[in-house]
């Protein structure tokens, strides 16, 4: 599904990402973890196109997308959420979902004019489904900025899903959530996997990562130090060193 080969990103003299390889198989939940500053977020930003890589390839369904414009990656089937939620706070919940209606599937359903200047009619059904899924149906007409924190996270996920992606990038979706909300998130990720989504999960919350992922890639100082199933990774001494510091 997604394959990253020899990915390098320098900022000035800093090697934020220094030659990473990994491959995500269709239908799996793939975890990307590592201590702070290990290059996780930079990797996500490279994959979704906010940065251009210094070197390396990003293959999505066999096509190298390293130089494809950010907004076009969405129509290829790559959607994301942000670590520090980025909703359109002065648009309503409904309109936030409406924005993501730009994927090829939508284009096939409604012509150019209908999509851009048409009314809400033809999007209504799809958006109500997305609202149901995220439990926000009762707040459809409220401004996104007025939602509670947990609701904003759910809306951001719903907005990514509304684009009907094949691969979903979740950048620290559990940040700032309480235990109950994390349990719900866990459930939601499993549900998405059952529905056939492939997921790249970047997360600090180890319990969640270990519970929902199929495979994990561990980064430290911009390099990959381990890859494998949760059990394998947990047993890896290099990973323990990275997290606990290189004590003796």
């Amino acid at each position: 599904m997604l394959e990253v080969r020899g990915l390098v990103k320098h900022f000035g003299g800093v090697r934020a990402v220094d030659g990473i390889d990994f491959a995500i198989r269709p239908g799996e939940v793939f975890g990307l973890i590592g201590p702070n500053g290990s290059g996780k977020s930079t990797t996500v930003n490279l994959v979704c196109g906010l940065y251009a890589p210094t070197q390396g390839q990003i293959l999505f369904q066999g096509q190298d997308i390293a130089r494809v414009a950010t907004h076009k990656r969405l129509s290829l089937g790559l959607a994301r959420t942000f670590q520090n939620i980025r909703l359109f706070t002065n648009l309503t919940v409904w309109e936030n979902l409406w924005m993501a209606e730009n994927a090829p599937a939508h284009r096939a359903e409604a012509g150019f004019l209908k999509r851009w200047v048409g009314g809400r009619g033809n999007a209504r059904e799809r958006i109500s489904q997305a609202l149901e899924f995220s439990g926000l149906a009762h707040r459809a007409d409220d401004l996104a900025g007025s939602l509670a924190f947990g609701e904003q996270r759910r809306l951001e996920l719903a907005r990514a899903l509304a684009a009907r992606p094949r691969l979903l990038l979740l950048d620290e979706p559990a940040a700032g959530m309480n235990a109950e909300e994390i349990a719900q998130l866990d459930e939601r990720i499993r549900m998405l996997q059952q529905q056939g989504y492939t997921i790249l999960l970047i997360e600090h919350h180890m319990e969640l990562v270990m519970a929902v992922t199929d495979r994990i890639c561990v980064l430290n100082f911009g390099r990959k130090i381990a890859e494998g199933t949760p059990a394998q990774v947990q047993a890896d001494p290099a990973v323990r060193d990275a997290y606990l510091g290189t004590g003796a």
Binding site: L50, K72, A79, L87, F88, L91, M99, N102, G118, A123
Partner: protein
């Protein structure tokens, strides 16, 4: 009565100017180039009616299209920068347009006299309205028909997905890209629409005043253009129109008895208004209060 017709015409073309800045401002771009597009519209329309003898309506459309084409061309380089850099770039573009017309001579003999733009002297004798026997009332109705059409079109656009897209881009460019919106396309489109509207406004202005010159289209006019939507708030087109009526009808005309001191007051009022209401006269809180007052349109609008 003629005084009021004339005032209504002034409010009309200033409303078009304000609406042109409104569209661009929705995408988060502060453009001081609107006066430049307004100037292009004024000169192009006047040249078509005076020199080529066209009817006003096709001349206005041509003026709008010329200004829109220019806005589209300017849009691309200007989009490489944002925020303050964009303000400066568009300010410079507006000045470049003004200076172009300061140097622009294109005179044609028409009977006894020569007509057409003449550099610093300006462009005189744009007399399409009187030549065709339009009264002040006719002109006023015509101007406000155009304003109503443009405002109606923008109102409808605001409610379509495209309107929400403009606002989304204005709010968070990064998130907008991530949901698949092409920033360049959206911003250039907004700029082009804004250019078209400013061109229409300029065309009307030229025929209202019958004499245009480069100094009419300076920084002051560009400031007026963005001041209207900022004062009126970006919630909908009505805010901008209310702001135009307030500024042109009340501040400029209503305070005429102050004579020269009125101009002093104008700058001071802007400074004061920004100290007291930094988010516009009608900010979100006021809008909510108004909405409660009128009891409807509480959420949408």
């Amino acid at each position: 009565m003629d005084f009021y017709y004339s005032l209504a015409q002034i409010i009309g073309f200033h409303a078009l100017l304000g609406l042109s800045a409104y569209v661009v401002l929705l995408t988060g771009q502060v453009s001081l180039a609107q006066a430049g597009f307004f100037a292009i519209g004024a000169y192009v329309a006047a040249m078509f009616t005076v020199l080529a003898g066209w009817h006003l309506v096709p001349a206005m459309l041509a003026a709008g299209l010329a200004a829109a084409a220019m806005a589209c061309i300017v849009g691309f380089p200007a989009l490489r920068v944002r925020g303050l850099m964009l303000v400066i770039a568009t300010l410079a573009f507006g000045e470049a347009v003004r200076l172009f017309f300061f140097n622009f001579d294109y005179q044609v003999a028409k009977g006894e006299v020569k007509v057409g733009p003449l550099g610093g002297e300006g462009f005189r004798q744009i007399r399409w309205f009187p030549e065709h026997g339009w009264t002040g009332l006719d002109v006023m109705l015509f101007v406000w028909t155009v304003v109503a059409l443009v405002a109606g079109a923008l109102w409808w656009l605001d409610r379509s997905r495209f309107g929400a897209v403009l606002r989304a881009v204005g709010e968070d460019e990064l998130a907008a890209q991530s949901v698949g919106l092409n920033l360049t396309a959206v911003k250039v489109t907004a700029m082009t629409i804004g250019g078209f509207i400013a061109g229409l406004g300029g065309a009307i202005y030229a025929h209202y005043t019958t004499h245009i010159e480069h100094s009419n289209f300076g920084v002051l006019l560009a400031t007026f253009a963005i001041a209207y939507p900022i004062l009126g708030g970006l919630r909908n087109v009505l805010g901008t129109i209310v702001a135009v009526i307030f500024v042109q009808g009340f501040l400029v005309e209503g305070l005429r008895f102050l004579g020269d001191w009125r101009n002093l007051l104008f700058g001071a009022l802007i400074v004061l208004a920004m100290n007291l209401r930094p988010n516009g006269l009608i900010d979100a809180a006021t809008a909510r209060r108004l909405a409660r007052l009128f009891g409807r349109e509480a959420r949408r609008a």
